[in-house]
């Protein structure tokens, strides 16, 4: 390859900064389309929801610490567990993974932004408005109270006359837009904006996991949108989808919900494993074992997850033969998980592990997920699930996987990538203390729940009577929950302190292999002043110094170098080998996405209040925004 020299002088870099800068002040806040700013905002917003959801869980645990407690009323408890579950799934877990993806994916594949930066901003704003909408239910004193899966007919008008469930149904359909738009963006970005030479078999595993995440979202979310949408039609307009008296069906709702609900749990799990697959090799000081195996396993999980939803309906009295089929597929899905699991073990086994905080979280994840996976396999065994379902055994299973196998990787990811994102190192010592507190607290909280399940404690009860052997365990669990929360608090403190007094983070503090570490910490607005040319699965390990491409003369190559960055563009590539194809203009900051999302929010409020004028106003704002947007798009 011919090498030429173009070294941007510092004035030139300053010029770049100017080209890429956001508008100043408050308008700038609403108009940014920069994937890093949006990603960061996603992550921070999600953590606010996590803290709220967690504090709600603590309140629930105070109520359940003792039998016949009156700390919370029956009403409040039912509202709180519903809001806890819904917040954790819809407003924390799913979007926080999208947030990390937003920040990291474009940098990992060596481009300057997402394929649709404005849509990216749009999905963030929709998410925020949906969250605000959902929590505004507390203001009028009627938060949702039908459980996070809102089974009909309990949630239909005759049995839930208030606004409570409308906040749930409309909120879920609303936030689904955000998730879907985000997924579309990830897919197109990964297919069209990879750095030259980054063929599919050189994609970092994390990018693969986001790709699988996105495809699962595309095909799963419509089901929950339809479930929540039809529920709202029943509630607001009096249709009869779920009214047993008028030909409606109860099981229909359950099928629709779980057709999304099961893939959803893997939608959460897959990117979390992607994070683990980035962390473990770096701290084992070697490439990941069985790259192809892992990628195949991810894709297999994606496919298989669409064939198991009925295992959430084992007690509905469907024919045993049909149930057995879904039990069998549920068992089978343990194999791809096993493959990933042993690939991680093999990586550590053949490497030399450094026990940093991110690595501790990864190992903690392994030990926790192992148990959560095993109990998952147990409940896939149909007759056993007849006993276990809807008991605390299930609560134990899904916290081991959701809280253990998703939240632990997310904390690992925080310790791993925050230095890149904020430019400040977190304190290692405090990180370790936080990990151990969380790890111990976690197990003290959720392990005894298995036993409670055996002792016959059903889930979703606001209180229980003494003398069933449940008292001590419940108290223990509640204590554990506070220990876990303390561990979380330590990380929060660690973060806040590091922002003020943390060591400056070097570009590549962990000696990692993927492209995001090639930039400064924090990265400049344009990510790469020149796009790297990839020739390895581990560019920063195998390509020293890293080759970056200069701008060429034609449309297909002018985006690569400094000139491309200066034009506010990024290259488009194509084909499996990722060959230059064209140049994409990155749009200027605009408030359009925010306005459009706001219009949608107004429309949703109109539906909630059944106020025609408000609804129409929302539609008008939305339509005007959309047309304006379409008109301006690319001007052609």
């Amino acid at each position: 390859m011919a090498t030429t020299q173009i070294r941007p002088a510092s004035e030139e870099l300053e010029e770049l900064e100017e080209v890429w800068e956001d508008d100043p002040g408050i308008p700038g806040f609403f108009s940014t389309v920069d994937h890093k700013r949006i990603g960061k905002r996603y992550i921070y917003t999600c953590f606010i929801f996590f803290f709220v959801g967690g504090l709600i869980a603590l309140a629930m645990r105070v109520q359940l610490a003792t039998p016949n407690s009156t700390f919370l009323s029956a009403d409040s408890y039912n509202e709180l567990f519903t809001v806890h579950g819904t917040t954790m799934i819809f407003l924390f877990n799913t979007p926080v993974l999208a947030g990390f993806g937003n920040y990291l994916l474009p940098m990992m594949i060596g481009t300057r932004d997402m394929a649709f930066p404005r849509l990216n901003a749009f999905s963030y704003w929709v998410f925020v408005f949906a969250g605000i909408f959902f929590f505004s239910s507390f203001l009028i004193g009627s938060p949702p109270d039908g459980g996070w899966f809102a089974y009909t007919p309990l949630t239909t008008k005759p049995f839930s006359p208030g606004f409570n469930l409308d906040f749930w149904g409309l909120g879920v359909a609303f936030v689904g837009i955000s998730t879907t738009v985000g997924a579309i963006n990830f897919i197109v970005t990964t297919f069209k904006l990879r750095a030259p030479g980054m063929s599919l078999n050189r994609l970092p595993v994390y990018v693969w996991s986001m790709l699988v995440f996105s495809f699962m979202v595309i095909f799963a979310v419509p089901a929950v949108t339809v479930a929540a949408g039809l529920l709202e039609l029943d509630r607001i307009f009096g249709t009869a989808f779920f009214a047993p008296g008028a030909g409606g069906s109860t099981l229909l709702y359950q099928h629709l919900f779980w057709f999304w609900g099961h893939p959803e749990v893997y939608i959460l799990f897959v990117p979390a494993t992607g994070m683990i697959s980035m962390i473990i090799p770096v701290f084992s000081r070697r490439p990941i074992a069985g790259y192809l195996w892992i990628v195949t396993a991810l894709v297999a999980i994606g496919f298989m997850s669409f064939g198991v939803w009925v295992h959430h309906m084992f007690a509905t009295g469907m024919p045993a033969l049909a149930l057995s089929f879904f039990a069998a597929v549920s068992l089978l899905i343990a194999v791809p998980s096993g493959v990933q699991f042993f690939a991680w073990i093999a990586t550590m086994w053949h490497g030399a592990v450094r026990f940093t905080t991110p690595m501790l979280f990864a190992i903690g994840f392994l030990l926790i997920f192992l148990l959560g996976g095993i109990t998952g396999v147990m409940v896939a065994v149909l007759p056993f699930d007849w006993q276990a379902t809807d008991s605390y055994f299930i609560v134990a299973h899904f916290h081991y996987v959701l809280n253990g196998a998703v939240v632990f990787p997310i904390f690992g990811a925080l310790y791993f990538w925050l230095p890149k994102i904020t430019g400040r190192m977190l304190n290692e010592r405090l990180g370790r203390v936080s990990f151990w507190t969380m790890f111990v607290g976690f197990n003290v909280t959720f392990f005894p729940m298995h036993i409670l399940g055996f002792l016959g404690m059903p889930r979703r009860v606001y209180t229980y009577s003494s003398g069933l052997g449940w008292d001590t365990l419940n108290l223990l669990i509640s204590v554990g929950a506070f220990v876990f929360a303390l561990g979380v608090l330590l990380t929060l403190i660690n973060f806040v302190v590091s922002q003020r007094r943390g060591e400056r983070a070097p570009d590549n503090p962990w000696n990692a292999d993927s492209l995001e570490w090639a930039t400064t910490s924090p990265p400049p607005d344009f990510n790469f002043e020149a796009i790297p040319v990839v020739a390895s699965r581990h560019p920063l390990w195998d390509q020293q110094p890293l080759p970056v491409a200069d701008s060429g003369p034609d449309d297909a190559t002018q985006g690569f170098g400094f000139a491309g960055a200066h034009d506010h563009t990024t290259p488009i590539t194509g084909g499996l080998r990722s060959v230059p194809e064209g140049t994409m203009r990155i749009p200027e900051p605009t408030v359009l996405p925010c306005v459009l999302a706001f219009g949608l929010a107004v429309f949703v409020v109109g539906l909630l209040a059944q106020a025609l004028i408000v609804g129409v106003a929302g539609l008008v704002i939305g339509a005007v925004g959309l047309v304006w947007w379409a008109w301006r798009t690319g001007e052609h």
Binding site: P153, S249, A315, M348, G351, V353, L382, N443
Partner: protein
Amino acid sequence: MSRLRHTAVFAWVLAIVIGISACSGSTSAVDAHGSEARHIAGLWWLMFGLAVGVYVVVGGFIIVAALRGRRGTPRRSRISQNMFITVGGVLVPALILLVLAVVTVTTTGALRKAGNNPVRIEVTGERWWWTVRYPDRQIVTANELHIPVGQPVAIGLESDNVVHSFWVPELAGKVDTIPGQRNVLRFTAEKAGTYLGVCAEFCGIQHAHMGFRVIAQSAGAFERWTTAHAEPPREPTSELAADGALRFQRLPCAGCHTVRGSQAHGTVGPDLTDFGSRATIGAGAVENDPSNLARWVRHAQSIKPGALMPNLTLSDDDVRALVSYLESLR
């Protein structure tokens, strides 16, 4: 860090100990006294053994793998990366899962089969209590099922409101009651005793207080019970109870409750024909004794907030008479 593995093993052992010691309690799924629950408990112990094995072995690998190279240099190993993945990740799990699949199918096949000449019981999930009917014997009651030991029962499960789930951990697994659909749960009780049941599917504000009891008795005792309960209750003997019977008709009670042999035919609340013989009030909310009952008839909401029986304005005389009457119903 190897202490960690010990902790995990210890935790599992603890689980067994607590599980077994809890046999003295009365809602333990592993302390099985019904045909279905016994099968499932057997299945559980098999899976438990496998699980401990898998956890210890795989957990051991994790810890050893993490610690081997902690000095900073990778150590050579005879186990190749592919060996880990193919053997540990594919072959061994596939074998274990195959065993589980076979056990799933055989156990499922052995359960819920139509038995010979079962005792038929119809149970309806209400908000938040259970109607219990014996279609062959003209008995209607609530929140208590009497069944014979050693004879199969077939419990028909329905609901005309929301979804509930019928669960008696010591006897059998769960079956939902689904509006517009009739499910049947079949099992045989193997030991006499009183077994606690709960509603396991979230069904609204008082889902937590939707318990019931299953009283398994010898065939003879069961026959005696059914003959006695097919009859309407005897006329109240005490003056106070007779007064209560009158007041029951005059007050709103009769509009919601049925007492066979009287003018009360309401169907909103539980049938009270044999109320005096039941162990609890409000589907397990409190014990059935006169003082609780006095509180219940006046302020049901203070015992079971949100229940569909309203607080009523009653005089002290009303309450005394009603309590006496209700406790006399057997």
